[in-house]
Subunit: 126 residues, 3 copies
């Protein structure tokens, strides 16, 4: 955007935009923006898969991966969708440890989005 008055060399932001960045990396910790589906017309299983694929991609760029998530918040448009989310969720964590999680229902910015996931993760030890 423009010159920062106090550059923050110890924080790396991924894909910074005027409204938000996709991730912030600070020391050993990675904070991801709430991830939302790419195809809002898809069903819950597909939307969940899209969200998790984006988390995979961002964690990779940040030097982390799905087996190093420290906390996840799942915000769903409709609690009735949670079983469909859980099936995709548990398959995604097969082979690694599923992290702490909290789930609640709330309307999201785009009314077609069925899910938004917030993730904090640990970077891989160098």
């Amino acid at each position: 955007m423009s010159a920062a008055p106090t550059p923050s060399a110890d924080i790396v932001y991924l894909n910074p935009e005027p409204r938000y960045s996709d991730a912030a990396i600070h020391g050993p910790t990675v904070y991801l923006a709430g991830q939302v589906p790419t195809d809002p017309q898809a069903d819950m299983a597909t939307q969940t898969r899209q969200v998790l694929e984006q988390i995979d991609a961002l964690l990779l760029r940040a030097g982390s991966h799905r087996g190093r998530i420290l906390m996840a918040q799942c915000i769903v448009r409709d609690i009735a969708d949670v079983p469909a989310m859980n099936a995709v969720w548990e398959a995604w964590f097969a082979g690694v440890t599923a992290p702490p999680r909290a789930t609640f229902q709330a309307p999201l910015v785009n009314p077609a989005w069925r899910i938004e996931v917030i993730v904090t993760a640990a970077r891989t030890v160098p």
Copy 2:
């Protein structure tokens, strides 16, 4: 569960299950899963007490305690329950410092749950 492709020796997960762990310990920080009541038929004061007891137990196992919480999010089914929650909350923090907090209303996974609390805490300095 199964062999992790990249073991994460620097992260300790408490009670890992296919869907979620109860806590993740990473360096000096502990992340707890959203804690919910054990008896969903109980009133708000009792449900809050149950949630806080579980937080006590998990923090103890993680080498922390209620006086070292860094941030709490209280998700309530009904904002009208907040005064009942606050009474239990303030009594629980008597003698230690109450941490930063945010509170909002949202439907939870089990419609009988009146409260879910998310906690991040600091481990005790060795």
Copy 3:
């Protein structure tokens, strides 16, 4: 309040009250309580501005600033208010990097509050 049984010299709490503190500082990280408007009768743009001013003040006291936010959660009473929030939000981050963000709709403790913002930030490197 009263004598803590286990003083936590490595955690600094700002403005501790029986119910909550305004911030917790632990190592390089600052956790702010959910910030709410000072004038609940104001419109969304004004309420957002009030919230961001309070975040500025707390981050300053904690040795951080708006260009070092690691993650923000914006909880709005009405998703229809998001464009008004975004206009103030983007102006506030002009000249620094906007952090990762998640936004959802939920009723807040005071029904007149249109917005609550939760921020985690990095302290300035000494």
